[in-house]
């Protein structure tokens, strides 16, 4: 059994102008010690997925249906009090912007201690010792001095390290990283990614890495989910997604990123059109209006997820037409096209 299992999740925001279906039937599972990447454009539902798992959605958003199971234990429908025991303890999150996710009026140490005191039976002194230990773990120099400092006294990379220390203080089973390096420079990004991988190995937790950067996905993820308009386009192992993309959207994404190893400046092939308006979802495949090879059926009926390899699923009618997909999980090596 997988550690985290999400089945047919639907999350909507009920705005005055109508229901915005931010997540539209999302299913995936996450095993212990794995790094799962969720990639997609803004508005594809990446962050809402994270917020749904932790149930930190703000009104008017709520989970409409579906199931989220942690170690077989259903999270949907749990009371706020029960969820508080899970947040920061079993599942932790690091937010995109380390500038705004730390409280400017409390010291770093104060904020680190808060999570430790809440979830463990350590006393104040032990919690302080643990806070110092965590800061050391994430590579912050002079942690005894740092715990008395405020967020504004630290650089962006340092603040993100503090956020990671805070998220890991209670040794969670799952760490959700919501664009943890987007606000950082590349050299600092490299430091943070390296640190996350090293801690993941040391502590044996699973990571859900939410990002829009294919480079970040390629460098740290084992598995990838490609999202578009609140649904899964394609999911599979990182190699399968990068080397055998089966969904037209994934293929389009790959074509539109400039290739560093290309010295001839080959013209980019962009995806035409603009992202979909979630208030007015078409009946068929949400990507169909921007897809170059869309067929009649794509506009009429939403494609289901089919197996296209041993560890690879795709929801594209093109796979059905070309006969490159299976309804059952294929066995054997030859299945990987």
């Amino acid at each position: 059994m997988s550690m985290l299992e999400v089945k047919d999740l639907h999350t909507s925001f009920f705005t005055p102008s109508g229901e915005v279906k931010a997540i539209n039937g999302l299913s995936f599972s996450l095993d212990k010690g794995k790094v799962l990447g969720i990639v997609g454009e803004s508005g594809s539902g990446k962050s809402v997925t994270a917020y749904s798992i932790l149930q930190i959605l703000t009104s008017p958003g709520r989970i409409v249906s579906g199931s989220i199971k942690l170690h077989g234990d259903e999270l949907v429908g749990k009371s706020e009090e029960e969820m508080r025991k899970i947040r920061g303890n079993k599942i932790s999150i690091i937010f995109q912007d380390p500038m705004t996710s730390l409280n400017p009026t409390f010291t770093i140490g104060n904020q680190l201690r808060e999570a430790i005191l809440l979830h463990t039976d350590r006393n104040r002194e032990q919690a302080e010792a643990r806070a110092i230990e965590m800061l050391q773990l994430v590579g912050i120099s002079e942690p005894e001095k740092r715990i008395h400092q405020y967020a504004y006294e630290l650089s962006g990379g340092m603040r993100q390290r503090v956020m990671i220390a805070m998220a890991l203080a209670c040794e969670p089973d799952i760490l959700i990283a919501d664009e943890p390096t987007t606000a950082l420079d590349v050299t600092i990004q490299a430091q943070i990614l390296e640190l996350m991988l090293q801690l993941q190995k040391e502590l044996g937790m699973a990571i859900i890495m939410i990002t829009h950067d294919m480079g970040v996905i390629a460098s740290i993820c084992d598995e990838v989910i490609v999202m578009y308009a609140g649904g899964v386009c394609e999911r599979g192992t990182t190699d399968a997604i990068f080397y055998h993309p089966m969904h037209e959207y994934t293929r389009g994404l790959m074509r539109s990123i400039p290739d560093m190893s290309d010295d001839d400046k080959t013209r980019l092939v962009p995806i035409t059109g603009t992202p979909i308006d979630l208030l007015h979802m078409p009946p068929g495949c949400p990507f169909a209006p921007r897809c170059d090879v869309a067929m009649k059926i794509c506009l009429q009926e939403k494609p289901k997820e089919y197996w296209v390899g041993r560890d690879h699923l795709s929801a594209c009618w093109m796979n059905v037409k070309e006969g490159t997909c299976f309804t059952e999980r294929p066995e054997g090596e030859e299945a990987e096209a």
């Binding site: 590349v186 490299a190 460098s219 990123i257 013209r267 980019l268 962009p270």
Partner: protein
């Protein structure tokens, strides 16, 4: 110091300095050296990429070049003329334009698209009558792939990619020869990014434009630029043809910068030898003596603390500022 313009170059920047006074205490100010002694030239019709981490002064270079800030020191030459005095500046401002990073805050929410695009036309009196102005706005909008029927709409009715197109149309309105593009695609999604990059390339060919392309995304800069300049803490570290700089960087900072760029290819990524820099960028108020990079450099020697290395040509067309290369 005398400076002689070279007709081969459209824009020449020589020993540009831009200092900002910062309040650091009661009645005390410190000079923040955002750009310190930077020199480079841009050929007619080429794209010079400018990369560096946040706070390195790349945006300040772009803004100072257009005299949006009055330079503290140094000279800017455009098309064989030194930019000084009201008359040359007025002419220069028509021929040199800027595209801003944030398509949300750089468009006035109270103006219609037509008025935004036509503002440079009005400022420089480029259209004799209303009809000509209207036609020109339509022409500009279709040039950047916007629906001309949307001319009476307001900026908030458009998506990020479309807003950036409006910003580009505005920059093109005064028929410039030189455009400073300050992170024009960083706020956009990858699929939209490619659309805007292709459009900028098409416009360059069509209108014979010269670009200074400022960005922190090295793969984007490599794709669009013919040469790339690397900045760190207000100083220029390296300048070389785009392929040369990304393949064979010489400066230790550029080497680590290139190795930190995540490659969107899992197999290549596993092979990648990352040089992870230790520590953070020092505060621009307290730039280290000598070479600004020496505090994070693994090849730093005593000489690096004493004097700031000058730019020199290490290979034909490849300039680097380092004592140890």
């Amino acid at each position: 110091m005398t400076f002689t313009p070279n007709p081969e170059y459209l824009v020449q920047v020589s020993h540009l300095k831009q200092y900002f006074p910062v309040n650091t205490g009661f009645l005390r100010t410190t000079l923040l050296k955002a750009v310190d002694d930077v020199s480079f030239d841009i050929r007619k019709g080429e794209t010079l990429g400018l990369v560096g981490e946040s706070g390195c002064g790349k945006t300040t270079v772009g803004r100072t070049m257009l005299h949006l800030y009055h330079p503290t020191g140094g000279e800017i030459w455009f098309d064989g003329k030194k930019i000084e005095g009201k008359e040359t500046l007025r002419e220069y401002r028509r021929r040199a334009q800027m595209v801003f990073q944030d398509p949300y805050s750089s468009l006035n929410p109270r103006m219609t698209v037509a008025d935004i695009v036509a503002e440079p036309i009005d400022v420089h009196n480029l259209c004799p009558n209303k009809k000509a102005r209207e036609d020109r706005v339509r022409e500009l909008m279709s040039l950047v792939g916007l629906n001309t029927e949307h001319a009476t709409r307001y900026a908030h009715e458009f998506s990020g990619g479309q807003r950036q197109r409006i910003g580009i149309a505005r920059a093109l309105a005064s028929e410039p020869e030189f455009i400073v593009c300050d992170e024009p695609v960083s706020a956009l999604d990858v699929s939209i990014q490619a659309q805007v990059i292709n459009m900028l390339e098409d416009l360059q060919r069509q209108l014979e434009l010269t670009y200074l392309f400022i960005a922190h995304d090295i793969s984007v800069v490599k794709h669009i630029s013919s040469r790339i300049a690397v900045m760190y803490l207000g100083h220029m570290m390296e300048l070389a043809p785009a392929n040369e700089l990304t393949r064979h960087p010489l400066h230790p900072y550029t080497v680590s910068l290139m190795s930190a760029v995540p490659i969107p290819d899992p197999r290549e990524s596993r092979k990648q030898q990352r040089i992870v820099l230790q520590g953070d960028v020092p505060s621009p108020l307290k730039v280290p003596s000598g070479c600004p990079f020496r505090t994070r450099c693994d090849r730093a020697t005593a000489a690096c603390a004493e004097s700031c290395p000058a730019m020199r040509e290490a290979a034909p067309g490849h300039f680097v500022a380092c004592h140890n290369v």
